[in-house]
């Protein structure tokens, strides 16, 4: 199963903000963490992650700094700001609503059995 692209994109912001709320991190580690959290189901590309990080930084949800690691190498660390935390809380409320509603709908219902052809449609 692959999560649809639109859904990946829609959930990207709360996911990044949520991960960074745990503590500062950098691009590669964030990608690894998402991979780990979703059991490899979420297909994140660098083209999704880095522009998103830059956008959140521009909006003031994140701030970044270059830190030296292992000799000459420098790494860009991102940290969540107060604005970012507020945004995360807001996104969480919205997602809770969506997830809650979906759970209500699917309540007690057995998982649908999907025929391969319908799955493709």
């Amino acid at each position: 199963m692959k999560v649809a692209k639109d859904l990946v994109a829609a959930s990207a912001t709360p996911m990044v903000l949520g991960i960074l709320a745990e503590g500062e991190s950098y691009g590669y580690a964030i990608l690894r963490r998402i991979n780990e959290l979703s059991g490899g189901e979420l297909d994140w590309t660098e083209g999704l992650l880095y522009p998103l990080l830059h956008r959140l930084e521009r909006l003031g949800h994140l701030e970044s700094s270059w830190q030296a690691v292992a000799g000459e190498r420098k790494r860009k660390y991102y940290r969540i700001t107060d604005r970012g935390l507020a945004e995360l809380a807001e996104q969480r409320r919205q997602w809770d609503t969506v997830v809650g509603a979906l759970k209500e709908i699917w309540h007690d219902r057995a998982p649908l059995t999907v025929h391969p052809l319908e799955g493709l449609a």
């Binding site: 691009g27 590669y28 590309t45 083209g47 880095y50 522009p51 190498r73 790494r75």
Partner: protein, 458 residues
């Protein structure tokens, strides 16, 4: 830490990859740093999982996906990067370029200030714009163009001979403009005021091509420079007009009328400075912004061709001879100049190796129709040249220009035709145009230096 075998090789691969990334306009040095760190993280992990550094690098690059997709995603967030911004102090990413263009900026400001001062120096000797209009009309290019030439010569690192030649030519221009006893209302004053700027502009051209003045490519660069410079100058003039209007009206609203300041200081000083600033802008942005002159040429070549053909058809249809009024020759000279400009600026932007296309045929049609019109005009004039049209510097200069442009365009049309028929390479046309530049210079100098005595300062 990553590579135990061939770490240098791996580093070389990273470097190569980085160069590849940096070629993308959407991706900047900081992004390359960030992505490189990502790639290194990926490689480290794969090496830890047992791959050799080489394999790890390949897999990691592959995982990152195509650079096209990556740049597209970056472009969405950083769309401003696709609008290349002209950073006034140059590429902030490279410290070397930064200091170089910072120095450039200071030299330019010095030259612009020099131009402003030059405009105001004659006022110290009691020459005012109002009373000595003729003096300023003859000399206005002598205030600003030497400074533009100085800036360009500095930028090109011109040798002593070139600098001496430039100085000598500007002195010669000053002498030509002021030494002859020309009455303020004489035709020769007008003719000199028109031709001296042309002569001096080509002196600026000498400064522009100072590093290699024989090279056809460099001369073509000067032609490009001229077009862009002119466009920048017009844009600055528009901005200056808006500024003056606001200045005037806002101050007038509080009862102070800054007319004297605007007409005596802001406009002349601003114009002189704009000449240098425009030159600097073109130099600074030549690799940054798409040249606009060729774009305008592309837009207007079909329109002018249609207009000229319509005119020709109308002439034949009505069998009405062209009415050669006093200013007619000048008008048709200007027409030839416009056609030549359209030709030059599409040449300047054309890939010399591209095969002939429909646009070349369109250009041929444009040039041929302009030639046909001009021949009609010349036929009309030759009858009268000896009586009512001969004998004045105005007519002689206009006729001379007409002949010069006619020769240029006729041969250009021939070269275009052979190019379309694939007989000659495109470069022949380019060489013809760049080789012709000295002809304009020679003619302008003849008009400025020889005409006044020849026509006994009429």
């Amino acid at each position: 830490m990553t590579a135990h075998e061939g770490p240098q090789e791996l580093e070389a691969q990273f470097e190569q990859w980085r160069q590849y990334v940096l070629r993308r306009r959407e991706l900047q040095a900081v992004d390359a740093d960030e992505l490189e760190d990502h790639l290194r993280g990926s490689v480290d992990e794969l090496v830890a999982a047992g791959l050799s550094p080489d394999e790890a690098f390949l897999v990691a690059v592959k995982r990152m996906g195509s650079l096209d997709d990556l740049s597209r995603e970056f472009a969405r967030e950083h769309s401003e990067r696709l609008w290349k911004q002209l950073v006034l102090t140059g590429d902030s990413g490279s410290p070397v370029g930064g200091t170089r263009s910072a120095r450039d900026l200071w030299v330019m400001l010095g030259c612009a200030a020099g131009a402003v001062v030059s405009v105001k120096v004659p006022a110290l000797f009691g020459l005012s714009f109002a009373d000595d209009g003729s003096f300023y009309a003859r000399n206005f290019t002598l205030f600003a163009l030497p400074w533009l030439a100085a800036y360009l010569a500095w930028r090109r690192g011109a040798g002593r001979t070139v600098i001496a030649a430039l100085a000598a030519l500007f002195v010669l221009g000053a002498v030509a403009a002021n030494a002859y006893p020309l009455a303020d209302d004489s035709q020769s004053v007008v003719v000199t005021s028109i031709h001296l700027p042309i002569a001096l502009w080509l002196v600026v051209g000498l400064a522009y091509v100072a590093d290699d003045w024989r090279s056809s490519r460099r001369r073509m660069d000067f032609i490009r420079f001229t077009g862009e410079w002119f466009i920048y100058l017009v844009l600055m003039a528009l901005g200056g007009g808006v500024l003056s209007a606001f200045l005037f009206n806002t101050f007038a609203a509080i009862g102070i009328v800054p007319e004297a300041f605007i007409s005596q200081w802001l406009l002349p000083g601003g114009a002189a400075a704009a000449v240098v600033v425009a030159g600097w802008l073109v130099e600074a942005k030549q690799s940054v912004v798409e040249n606009i002159a060729p774009v305008l040429t592309r837009l207007f070549t079909p329109l002018f061709t249609a207009a000229l053909l319509a005119f020709l058809v109308a002439v034949v249809w009505t069998s009405h001879g062209i009415d050669v009024e006093r200013e007619a020759l000048l008008l048709f000279d200007l027409l030839l100049v416009v056609v030549l400009g359209l030709l030059l600026y599409s040449l300047s932007a054309r890939d010399p190796l591209a095969p002939p296309g429909p646009f070349d045929k369109l250009q041929l049609a444009l040039v041929v129709s302009a030639l046909a019109i001009d021949v009609l005009v010349l036929l009309e004039i030759t009858g009268r040249i000896t009586d009512e049209y001969g004998g004045t510097p105005n007519r002689a200069a206009a006729l001379g220009e007409n002949v010069i442009l006619l020769v240029n365009l006729a041969w250009s049309a021939w070269l275009l035709l052979s190019f379309i028929r694939r007989r000659t390479p495109f470069a022949a046309l380019e060489r013809w145009q760049t080789g012709y530049l000295p002809v304009y210079a020679a003619w302008a100098w003849i008009v400025v230096l020889v005409f006044p005595p020849l026509f006994s300062f009429a």
